[in-house]
Every structure is written in structure tokens, then in C-alpha cells.
């Protein structure tokens, strides 16, 4: 029996804002078998929703998050909350993903660490965190788990499914796995299979974590663990999410305030060093190192060509109309990989458009505040 725990949020949203939101938990008490063959007796997914599901159950828009993202994609958790959800610029009343029109949902993926069952969750058998005894997670597992949750919420059909980066992988997998369930797919800055370079970056991140003695084979206390390794992994990964041009514009060679005049030290001297250090430090307070290992592995293993024989073969089942969006300066999942998705869908006889936004912000461009991006999304959902 699946139980959707309900904690309705009661607050009048400010115009244009999703307003106050409360995360909820979906708990499935039915066993779940991962692609690896490993099983869990059940699992929880933390999620948020914005707007209302209509009577027909067909106005739902699913948002799928990227590697370090979570279920909190719009609104605020308290009036004092400084930062809204990660896609708040796109989602809200009257925005490109209009919550007056759509019932918008987003769940933290299984294997994550923001409330969904993952390696930091207690193993019922031992009472201690699973650690690396947690089953290996794939993009397909993420999709299957979310489908169970959507079914429990009474969502009959997704009007659209949007996701950036790993979220785009989920969108594609959703369209393949549950063809009749998704009407529109919008993967952004995504890929059907990572290049060696992207796998290489993920591996450096994993090694930074696993080479940290505090990782201890994945066994560490809740607030401990490989904090240094995880911070370094995040610092390096962050560089791959932006671009040479955008970093240069933001930091250039600016010196950090209070940096000593003495150049002959290894203390933080440049703004960019200080920024990355901050990125690393804030990350370790919200992310679990083992989750980082699991999710990067899921991303690396995702390969629709290998899984289905060819990309066209993978897409033969798709019924959705797809809009693939690439970004010129994305050097992690370069636009050519997005183009390949659209081309293969078209070769398979599916309706697929491809748009490429000229930005210099790199992989994270999908989070960009761009009227062009908003208009495109609004038009696709019209």
C-alpha cells in the first residue's frame, strides 16, 4: 500500500511567486527491485507540488532535477527563506511553467540525500546508514520510482516533463519507459550518453571522496564523513558547470578583499579561489558523499545507445512530442549531444524539435534568467 503523507501548505502566494511550500513524503511500502537486481523493502521520495491537479488528472508537469539538485524547485519554505527553489525563475503563477495552469511536481531522486531514501538513510536491518550497501541506482530506477509516486498521487498522464542535465536523462528515459504517460518531453543541456570527458570529471570527484580517509569505505557518521573530499569534488565539478567566459566575467583576476599583498603564499588570493571554496563548503553541509558517488555513477552508466542497440531503437517507443534544448557554451554535455537526441528521434519518425540558445554560461545555462528561454518553454507548453 502506498501512502502519500499530506501536509497541505496554507499561504497566499505573492503574485508571480509559488509562495510558501512544504515538502511532503511519499512512502512506498512495496519492495522495489533496482536494475542491478538489488532490492529495498520500500522507499520514500521527498517531493513538492505547486498548483492543483485538475479533475481529469492531465495537467501535471513533472520537473526532474540534476545531480546536486533536489525536490525544492520553486517557492520558499519560510518567509525568511533567502533562497527560493532552484528553478523558481521558471516556475510560478504566470511564469513560463505556469502554476495557475499546471500542477507542477518535483521529487528528490532515490539514492539522493534530501529526504528520499538513499545511502544516508538507515538500513532497517542494522539501524545504521546503508552506506555503500545501498543498491546501485540507475536513471531508469529513478524513473520507475517516480512513476510509482505519480500513480499514487493520481496523476494519469504528464502534460510535460522538464529536466536539465541528469533531469533531461530522466525525461528521455520516462518517454521510453512509459510512452503513453508523457505528452511532452523537454530535456535541456542533456545527453543520451556522456562523453569520456564527462565520465572523467565524475571519476575525479569520486576519487576525491573515496581517497579522503574519512570516507572509510562509505561508513561514516551522519555529520562526519569525507568533507574535504566532497568539497573538492564539488569545487572541480562546479568549474565544469560554468565556462571560461562566464568565470572571467564574474571574477577575472580580481583579488580577494583582505588578501595579503604578499603573493608568495598559498592562501586564498583570487576571488575565484574564494568563490570555489565557498561552493565546496556550502555543498558539504547539504549533500551526502555517498549520494554523490551513487548519482554520478547513475549518470555515467546512462547510455541509451548501449541499452537499446541504437539511439533510434531506444526512441521507437516514444510517443511524446519532444523539444531538445542545447546551449552553445555547454562543454560538459556539448550541444552536439542534444542535437544527436533530436536527430535520432526524427529518424525514428517522432516529433522532435531542437533549439540552441546562445549563452556563455556553460552547462548551468538551463538555470539562466533568459526571456528567450522562457518564451520557448511557454510556447512548448501552450
Amino acid at each position: 500500500m502506498n501512502v502519500a503523507e499530506d501536509h497541505p501548505a496554507t499561504a497566499t502566494p505573492a503574485p508571480g511567486e509559488a509562495g510558501l511550500v512544504e515538502p511532503r513524503d511519499f512512502v512506498s511500502a512495496e519492495p522495489f527491485t533496482f536494475e542491478s537486481g538489488q532490492t529495498l523493502p520500500g522507499f520514500a521520495l521527498r517531493y513538492e507540488t505547486y498548483g492543483r491537479l485538475n479533475a481529469a488528472g492531465d495537467n501535471a508537469v513533472l520537473i526532474c532535477h540534476a545531480l546536486s539538485g533536489d525536490h525544492h524547485c520553486a517557492g520558499r519554505h519560510s518567509p525568511a527563506d533567502k533562497k527560493p527553489g532552484w528553478w523558481n525563475n521558471l516556475i510560478g503563477p504566470g511564469k513560463a511553467v505556469d502554476t495557475d495552469k499546471f500542477f507542477v511536481l518535483c521529487a528528490n531522486v532515490p539514492g539522493g540525500c534530501q529526504g528520499s531514501t538513499g545511502p544516508s538513510s538507515p538500513d532497517p536491518a542494522t539501524g545504521r546508514p546503508y552506506g555503500i550497501a545501498f543498491p546501485f541506482v540507475t536513471i531508469r530506477d529513478m524513473v520507475r520510482a517516480q512513476k510509482r509516486w505519480l500513480d499514487a498521487l493520481g496523476v494519469k498522464r504528464l502534460f510535460a516533463l522538464l529536466g536539465g542535465s541528469m533531469g533531461g536523462m530522466q525525461a528521455l528515459q520516462f518517454g521510453i519507459e512509459y510512452p503513453g504517460f508523457c505528452a511532452r518531453l523537454l530535456p535541456m543541456a542533456s545527453t543520451a550518453r556522456e562523453s569520456a570527458q564527462a565520465i572523467a570529471f565524475n571519476e575525479v570527484g569520486r576519487q576525491a571522496i573515496m581517497q579522503d580517509p574519512a570516507w572509510n569505505g562509505g561508513n561514516y557518521p551522519k555529520d562526519g564523513g569525507p568533507r574535504v573530499g566532497l568539497a573538492i569534488a564539488r569545487m572541480m565539478a562546479h568549474i565544469t558547470y560554468v565556462s571560461d567566459a562566464s568565470m572571467d566575467r564574474k571574477f577575472g583576476r580580481k583579488k580577494k578583499d583582505g588578501a595579503t599583498g604578499d603573493a608568495y603564499t598559498f592562501d586564498v588570493q583570487f576571488e575565484v579561489e574564494s568563490y570555489l571554496k565557498h561552493q565546496g563548503e556550502s555543498f558539504i553541509n547539504r549533500f551526502d558523499a555517498n549520494s554523490y558517488l551513487y548519482i554520478t555513477r547513475a549518470i555515467d552508466h546512462f547510455d541509451l545507445e548501449a541499452a537499446y542497440g541504437s539511439l533510434e531503437q531506444a526512441f521507437t517507443r516514444v510517443e511524446a512530442e519532444t523539444l531538445v534544448l542545447g546551449f552553445t557554451s555547454d562543454w560538459l554535455f556539448p550541444p552536439g549531444q542534444s542535437r544527436a537526441i533530436a536527430q535520432a528521434l526524427l529518424r525514428a519518425g517522432k516529433r522532435a524539435s531542437y533549439a540552441e540558445l546562445d549563452t556563455d554560461l556553460g552547462h548551468d545555462s538551463f538555470l539562466l534568467e533568459s526571456p528567450q528561454l522562457y518564451e520557448l518553454v511557454r510556447g512548448f507548453l501552450a
Binding site: 542535437r339 524539435s353 546562445d358
Partner: protein, 201 residues
């Protein structure tokens, strides 16, 4: 005088006759998708457009027209032979860098290729150059040379010579007078304002 906006719909009407219902059609240089949109409405085709500009693709998407942003040659190269029933190249050929390569590739991926262009040999265009010695500017060529995209003006004679040289078959042609309405039966390289061809290998 007929407004350019009206002229833009001329080839839509002719193409609506030429395009087979429910066929798979690729439009090279689809712009905002007006032609494909009308063909989807009238012929229930499976449409795909290609264009270089983001805003054009966004407009297509908004109208429910499937469109791909990118280089048309690179795009066509990703498809197997005969994937499309028809490839349309309407008022695009003049602006491509390598027209021969575009037509050759279009004939590979399309069973039929439709080319439409403004006849540069039309007498008014000739007169314009003769009298003013400047780039023709009229209903069709509305912009100054310094504001327009690079263009290879092509005439009816030029195009038919090209097809003969390449051995392409002219399956069908529609030649329109200066008003882009009435058919032009006499000396088309001089009197036709607009030309449409259906090619096959």
C-alpha cells in the same frame, strides 16, 4: 500592387497542390513555420523545418511546428536516403553557401525536391539595375545591400541550366508573372516574377 505579405502565401497555395496528404516533408529555411503550419492544416503532413535562428525555432514550437535549429546540410546528412517524401527549399536557395550541395543532399534524403525562388531575370529587376546601377529594391528585395544577408541571385535560366548540367529532372514547374498570381507562359526568364520547380534525380 500586391503586398509582400500576400506574395508570401503564393507558394503556399501551389505547394498545397503539390504536397501529398500525410507525407513526410522537410522545409529548408522554415522561418517561423508559416508554410509548414499551413501544410499541416491542409494536408495533415508530418512536418520538419530547419532554420538557423533560435527565435524562428521558438516561433515554430509555439505554433506546434516541429523544427530543428542548425545547419541544413549537416542536418540532412544525419538522415538515410529517401527519408522524406519531399524536401522544400522555398526562397532559401539564394542564401545558402553551397546551393549545389544543398540540392544534391536534398535529392538524396527526399524523394522529391521543391525549389521556389524569386526570378532575378524578371524584367523589372533588369531594368532596375540598368537604370539605377544599384541593387534591385522592390516588393521582393526590400532591403539595402548593406542590410541584407549574402545572396546569390538566381534566374529561371540560371536554375534550368543548373538542373540540365546536373542531370536533374524537372518534374513540374510553376511560373508566375510579376503579380505572382497569373501564370507566365511566355519568355519566363524575362516575364516571370516567381518560379517553383519540382525536381527528381
Amino acid at each position: 500592387m500586391i503586398k509582400p505579405a500576400v506574395k508570401r502565401t503564393v507558394d503556399m497555395q501551389i505547394l498545397a497542390d503539390w504536397v501529398e496528404p500525410r507525407s513526410r516533408v522537410l522545409d529548408l529555411g522554415c522561418g517561423r513555420g508559416a508554410l509548414l503550419d499551413s501544410l499541416v492544416q491542409s494536408k495533415d503532413i508530418f512536418a520538419v523545418g530547419v532554420d538557423l535562428e533560435f527565435d524562428k525555432i521558438a516561433a515554430c514550437v509555439q505554433h506546434g511546428v516541429t523544427a530543428y535549429q542548425g545547419d541544413m546540410l549537416e542536418f540532412m546528412r544525419t538522415f538515410p536516403d529517401g527519408h522524406f517524401d519531399r524536401v522544400i527549399c522555398s526562397r532559401t536557395l539564394e542564401e545558402v553557401a553551397d546551393p549545389a550541395a544543398v540540392i544534391a543532399e536534398a535529392l538524396r534524403v527526399g524523394r522529391a525536391v521543391t525549389v521556389g525562388f524569386v526570378n532575378h531575370g524578371y524584367w523589372k529587376n533588369r531594368l532596375d539595375v540598368l537604370l539605377h546601377g544599384r541593387k534591385p529594391r522592390n516588393d521582393v528585395y526590400t532591403s539595402e545591400w548593406f542590410e541584407s544577408r549574402p545572396s546569390n541571385p538566381v534566374s529561371v535560366a540560371d536554375f534550368e541550366h543548373f538542373c540540365a548540367a546536373k542531370g536533374y529532372r524537372l518534374v513540374r514547374r510553376a511560373l508566375l508573372r510579376g503579380d505572382w498570381r497569373r501564370p507566365c507562359a511566355f519568355a519566363p526568364n524575362f516575364f516571370a516574377g516567381y518560379a517553383l520547380y519540382d525536381l527528381a534525380k
